[in-house]
């Protein structure tokens, strides 16, 4: 009996019980789709995190004062700007930041970060100005009250109108909007990266924070590759300039580096992906048990049919091939539909994450489900085909 004939028998066998075949395929479909989609969601969120950190700028260092000490003084900031001791540092931007309420014609908006810094901050913090212009060094020197606002702030205070040129009030002081920042993806996911305002350092100190120490100093390295060099140079200068306070063992400042941040975040995201993968693996297992169950039932139920076929002179090999072909078709069809479902599903945003398909997860899910289908389709069929026809016929 030719293989083609056996395949035709298999197709007829599948068609003879559409509901059961459909349910088997559905089980495989769900298992496969769940694995691929969950892994894609994990992968997507990992990529999202990486993208956000990338957006922060990968060639900057942030020096932050810790422990409430007045460490980051103008003298320290000046010292970092040293072409001899710190040749890889291209810009130093001291930062003061505070929360403030902006008012424009009776509309209030509490901005999360009201930043005072130098014009170099825009480049260092990877915040390009979209409309209007950034303030200048001259503005900083003169302490002019101009401000560049983030997209969220512009949308809140000036809905539908141009923000540039408008005057808003910050804690009683008038600031003129000179620019609006480009929209930026939110770095941490908890804070809106577009909810900020940047003004000249001197103006912010005058009106809001006073002339204390800086909150942080953003240091820009010559390139991403030079970040590590710049970091060691900065840390050398700081260790000379800043005294470790008595009774403390750690330095009163911390140097953060975007690529370090990227690393930790990527690790977190990897853990997340592993977790989702585990959940997906469990669903594949459950799906697999479903397949196993239905295959066992199918073959057991058809033991009598196998007996009839044997009584009519079907050799064991032909019966086995037929059942194996049926199981293969069901598994492949179900698996293929599962892949299709996952591919369609990955086009939608799931819980705020755009899934990114991992090709190996498709192969894995497909292989596992097909293997389960084949194994549990063929083992009981083999057992039944080995029975003497009379035992198979009498099987209840």
């Amino acid at each position: 009996m030719s293989l083609f004939e056996v395949l035709r028998f298999a197709v007829r066998g599948i068609g003879a019980n559409k509901l059961r075949s459909g349910l088997t395929m559905l089980g495989i479909l769900i298992g496969v789709a769940a694995v691929i989609l969950l892994v894609a969601v994990g992968n997507g969120s990992a990529q999202q995190v990486a993208d956000r950190i990338e957006a922060l700028g990968t060639k900057t260092l942030t020096v932050q004062g810790t422990g409430g000490g007045q460490v980051l003084t103008p003298a320290v900031a000046q010292a970092l700007h040293d072409p001899v001791l710190a040749p890889d540092v291209t810009s130093v931007s001291p930062v003061v930041s505070t929360q403030a309420t902006l008012t424009y014609q009776g509309t209030d908006h509490a901005v999360q970060q009201f930043v005072g810094s130098y014009p170099s901050y825009f480049g260092a913090s990877n915040s390009p100005v979209g409309t209007g212009a950034a303030f200048t060094d001259d503005d900083v020197a003169q302490g002019r009250r101009v401000v560049v606002i983030g997209k969220t702030v512009a949308d809140e205070l000036f809905p539908g109108t141009a923000a540039v040129g408008k005057e808003l009030t910050v804690s009683g002081a008038l600031f003129t909007v000179v620019g609006v920042l480009d929209e930026k993806s939110s770095a941490s996911g908890f804070m809106d990266a577009n909810d900020l305002a940047i003004a000249p350092l001197t103006a912010v100190q005058q009106t809001l924070t006073g002339y204390g120490a800086y909150n942080s100093i953003v240091v820009e390295a010559a390139s991403s590759a030079k970040v590590a060099d710049a970091q060691s140079q900065v840390s050398l200068i700081l260790s000379q300039r800043v005294q470790v306070p008595a009774g403390s063992t750690s330095q009163p400042y911390r140097i953060q580096n975007a690529s370090q941040l990227l690393e930790t975040q990527t690790e977190t995201a990897d853990t997340f992906t592993t977790l989702l993968g585990a959940v997906a693996g469990i669903s594949l297992l459950v799906g697999g048990i479903g397949i196993t169950n239905i295959m066992l039932v199918t073959v057991t139920e058809r033991t009598r049919e196998i007996g009839i076929r044997k009584a009519l002179g079907a050799p064991r090999r032909v019966i086995l091939t037929q059942f194996l072909a049926e199981a293969t078709m069901l598994s492949l069809l179900g698996g293929g539909l599962g892949v299709a479902a996952a591919l369609i599903g990955s086009r939608f945003t799931i819980v705020g994450v755009r899934p990114v398909i991992v090709p190996s997860s498709i192969a894995l899910a497909l292989c596992v489900s097909v293997a389960i289908g084949l194994f549990f389709g063929s083992v009981p069929a083999n057992r039944a085909a080995r029975l003497r026809p009379i035992d198979a016929l009498r099987y209840e």
């Binding site: 009996m1 004939e5 019980n17 049919e305 009839i308 044997k310 002179g313 079907a314 050799p315 009379i390």
Partner: protein, 231 residues
């Protein structure tokens, strides 16, 4: 040449205290063209004998020659071939493949014999016509009456033109009219020279055979040639 030749066949089921001697040494020859009815009470071993004759089961001891071939020495594949080519089996409970049309059921043995699809269809339809069911070829078993199902099963047993037609209480599940239909087909087969072995416990069915064998307790109690009573 004898179609069937069994010598001192025994069949033992189970082990130890649960041992059942279903056949205790049965010897039997069947010549071509004979119409043999086997009768016996329940537990006399007639079904066991039939299963052994049909190569569905193997004897514990003894020799079985079918068409001169010792089937006890055949492997699984050769046995499948024998079942396919030499034997047509009709079961009490029809044993059609569910959700499969009558003609596909009849084609099945031919498919396993490797007959091409077109030829298979033609021969299956001829066999169905022979049992008077040509117009029901496209029906599935659950759309057919018991008698019609059994006629499909008979067509399936005949389609390979086997040396031996075995029928295990073929009328056991049928009403009198369907029984008559089936028996008439067997009469026609006998008239056409086919060898038939049939199990029954109905005397009027047995009466139509040319030879009557009674089994008792796993042994042949009587074996007589008889004049066929034609209804």
């Amino acid at each position: 040449m004898t179609v069937l030749d069994i010598r001192a066949v025994t069949k033992v089921y189970g082990e130890g205290a649960a041992t059942v001697h279903a056949l205790r040494g049965v010897s039997l020859d069947v010549e071509p063209g004979e119409y043999v009815a086997i009768m016996g009470s329940s537990g006399s071993g007639k079904s066991t004998l039939m299963n052994i004759l049909g190569c569905l089961d193997i004897p514990t001891a003894g020799r079985y020659l079918l068409d001169g071939v010792d089937v006890s020495r055949l492997n699984d594949r050769q046995l499948a071939l024998v079942r396919n080519r030499r034997i047509g089996f009709v079961f009490q409970s029809f044993n059609l493949i569910p959700r499969t049309t009558a003609v596909a059921n009849v084609e099945l043995p031919l498919a396993y014999a490797g007959v091409k699809a077109a030829e298979r269809r033609r021969r299956a339809l001829v066999a169905l016509d022979m049992v008077g069911l040509a117009d029901r070829a496209g029906h599935e078993p659950n759309q057919l009456s018991g008698g019609q199902q059994q006629r499909v099963a008979v067509a399936r047993a005949l389609v390979t033109e086997p040396a031996l037609v075995l029928a295990d209480e073929p009328t056991g599940n049928l009403d009198s009219r369907s029984t008559e239909d089936i028996l008439r087909i067997f009469d026609d087969l006998h008239a056409a020279g086919r060898t038939i072995v049939l199990i029954t416990h109905e005397t009027d069915v047995a009466a139509r055979a040319s030879r009557l064998i009674r089994l008792f307790d796993g042994q042949i109690a009587s074996d007589v040639q008889q004049d066929r009573i034609l209804a």
